[in-house]
Symmetry: C2
Subunit: 198 residues, 2 copies
């Protein structure tokens, strides 16, 4: 019987990628609690202590798992981010490969703006301040825009322009334009199209 048990249970344990069960359970608890609290009260009305309490874990555990507030927010966004990357790497044109570079650039910006519309608070939280540029996500977006720019105009300084374009898609700017300036999502998309046209 022990052998049977072992045979059935070992794989279950093994598939946990070397993460201990309590660790995996706590990670889930934390993500759950964080998602709920952020949804309920808005991202910047929730403290890390509250997340830890709601998840029923200590603060140390929370920070051991996620490192920082920004990383926690990034973890909550990772599904959406993965979908976006999937879309522009392997998806259908015009976002994915197959369309002309300009059009893909337009589609990329529109997809980013859609994501901002849905999760601006969380994204602002994940990208707060200079952290944005340190995050690998930024590198991926940057590389994508870079290659499209090179394709569209081999003469241009694609690196500098990529940073400039991505700056226009920053979460803090988006919130300012949407909330303080009252600009519509459609208007921002149109603005992006104008920007890419140049």
């Amino acid at each position: 019987m022990d052998d049977v048990k072992t045979m059935y249970e070992l794989p279950v344990i093994a598939e946990e990628r070397g993460e201990r069960q309590d660790a995996a359970r706590n990670r889930e608890r934390i993500l759950c609690a964080a998602r709920r609290l952020f949804d309920e009260r808005g991202a910047d009305c929730v403290t890390m202590d509250q997340v830890a309490d709601a998840a029923g874990v200590g603060k140390g555990t929370l920070f051991r798992r996620f490192g920082s507030r920004a990383s926690l927010a990034a973890a909550l966004l990772s599904e959406h981010e993965r979908a976006l990357q999937e879309g522009f790497i392997r998806g259908e044109p015009p976002l994915g490969p197959g369309a002309p570079a300009r059009e893909r650039l337009v589609a990329f910006g529109e997809a980013m703006l859609d994501m901002l519309e849905a999760h601006s608070e969380l994204i602002a939280c994940a990208d707060a301040g200079a952290v944005r540029y340190a995050h690998p996500t930024y590198g991926v977006h940057r590389l994508h825009v870079l290659l499209l720019l090179r394709e569209a105009d081999p003469q241009c300084d694609a690196e500098v322009l990529a940073d400039a374009l991505l700056a226009a898609l920053g979460a803090e700017l988006f919130v300012y334009q949407r909330a303080a300036q009252g600009m519509s999502l459609e208007r921002l998309k149109a603005g992006w199209r104008e920007l890419v046209a140049g």
Copy 2:
């Protein structure tokens, strides 16, 4: 004799613009100490407590005068900022009025980049996060770029484009491009020119 004293001293007091002498003295002390510490150690290695101590005032006084760390940094920059504004409002072309809008836009960006080169740390501190968009300085820059864009191309959505262009001149991005990416100031200026050309 009393009358004479009064006659000589009143004007001196009056020219203080209603600010009490101790308040004025402490403002100077704080600005001095802050400038010195920021120069010596770099802006983000200096705490507000240290500034208060070095200035020989209490923390309460420091915050009563300047409201926040960002505002203190802004106060230290106000001379340079005033000079920049003077330059593009009343100065010589191509920065000031007289030159074609595109050229003024190029000159404005280059002036901003020069200022960033000289004070990026302090500017990053003053503009940290979403604060930038709340600051009246942003409004001034935005309006300037807005009017130039309208002049250069009356068809475009100048408001959205102004925000997009200014985003490319953000301090955090500048630091990333200069330090992490190792881009030269000249290269960034050339990038700005390309951006404005479109």
